[in-house]
């Protein structure tokens, strides 16, 4: 008796699920009662959330992109002003970092290993 009821209930549950699939994105306050970050995140958290959704990384949270460092493929260095300090680890495991100012304009070369660096403007989403 109980088994028959259980089977009937399971069949009904299975058919209802197939009949009305719940769209995942509208599960917000109206549905379950707990807000999502999309609805409620604010401030810096929201700015970063939006940027990550678009695929951008304005606050340099990710590892910088790798470049060859040649004249044709220089290291692109984002900067919010017209110059930025660069620290070049010329070869892997080098302990002496070569520091220099990278200025806006023509690409510069590391005074030690000669890798090319180019300053690029970087906008912060204020």
């Amino acid at each position: 008796m109980a088994a028959r009821l259980l089977l009937r209930g399971a069949l009904r549950a299975a058919t209802t699920c197939r009949a009305a699939p719940v769209p995942a994105l509208t599960r917000g306050m109206a549905a379950g009662g707990i807000p999502t970050d999309e609805e409620q995140a604010t401030g810096m958290e929201r700015i970063i959330m939006k940027a990550m959704q678009e695929g951008s990384d304005p606050y340099s949270m990710m590892k910088p992109k790798e470049y060859a460092g040649s004249k044709a493929d220089p290291h692109l260095v984002p900067s919010i002003t017209n110059k930025r300090i660069v620290g070049c680890v010329c070869e892997e495991d080098n302990t002496a970092v070569v520091w220099f100012w990278l200025h806006q304009g023509e690409p510069q070369r590391c005074p030690s290993c000669g890798s090319h660096y180019q300053l690029v403007a970087h906008e912060l989403p204020h």
Binding site: M44, E45, R46, I47, P125
Partner: protein
């Protein structure tokens, strides 16, 4: 608002670290004054200042994270590291008391009768209230996990109910332990058995009260819509702490209540 080029949170100047340090000084020196000069004023003042500090400091953190959005992914990661390191330090705290227990119980001295439990000590039956307490805490571990999944799935009502149930189970444990303490046939003054039993279980009970309070704050925050289905680290930290308290109890039960009886 955001004139920084990084995702971290440079906190505004705050008086609470200073008031907390002053409170710690007053509580400790006040306790010593109480022991030697029969005056509780300094200790009481220190305790009040400590409670005020905790309330205002954590309130500020909630303001900064939930209301102002400063808890970005890297900031949250740091908070996670912080909570894990804190719980680890608490593990070492309890490890000390377990060391003391095993030191005394593995090689019982002649003045105890060369046996454990020591001669004259009537231990508590591990299969009575202590076993119930074990079941209560294990069940509360289930309910807190239920609450977490409810939050992640966006279900407000079950989240509130399961979190409330977790807290009630915590209170039930504390109530039962209180009864056990009252009815126990031995006291803290009963040799090394009494010392190890009451210091270890006593600090555990204090941590249950702390954990219950943390969960209660989370319940209030959940009711007031602070948590989102993706971002609810305050709750996760409380749940981690609660699981830690549960695990410590399991070790206490096995070592002191069961093996030690």
């Amino acid at each position: 608002m955001a004139h920084q080029a990084h995702a971290y949170h440079m906190v505004d100047p705050s008086p609470w670290p200073l008031t907390g340090a002053v409170a710690a000084l007053l509580v400790t020196s006040g306790t010593a004054i109480w022991f030697h000069f029969n005056s509780t004023i300094l200790m009481t003042l220190g305790t009040m200042l400590l409670l005020l500090t905790m309330y205002q400091w954590w309130r500020d953190i909630i303001r900064e994270g939930t209301f102002q959005g400063h808890h970005t992914p890297p900031v949250q990661k740091g908070l996670r590291y912080g909570m894990i390191l804190f719980i680890t330090s608490e593990v070492f705290f309890f490890l000390g008391f377990f060391w003391a227990f095993y030191h005394s119980s593995l090689a019982p001295t002649p003045d105890l009768g060369g046996c454990w439990p020591p001669a004259g000590i009537t231990t508590l039956d591990p299969f009575e209230v202590p076993l119930l307490n074990t079941a209560v805490l294990l069940a509360s571990g289930v309910t807190v996990t239920w609450a977490h999944h409810s939050i992640m799935e966006g279900d407000r009502k079950p989240a509130i109910q399961s979190l409330a149930l977790t807290i009630l189970l915590g209170f039930y444990f504390t109530f039962l332990q209180g009864l056990e303490y009252f009815e126990a046939p031995f006291t803290i003054a009963d040799g090394v058995y009494g010392s190890t039993f009451f210091v270890a279980t006593g600090f555990h009970g204090l941590h249950v009260i702390i954990g219950s309070t943390f969960l209660a704050v989370c319940l209030l925050r959940q009711i007031q819509y602070h948590f989102t289905s993706e971002h609810h680290f305050g709750f996760e930290a409380a749940a981690w702490y609660w699981h830690f308290v549960d695990v410590v109890w399991l070790f206490l039960y096995i070592s002191i209540y069961w093996w030690g009886s």
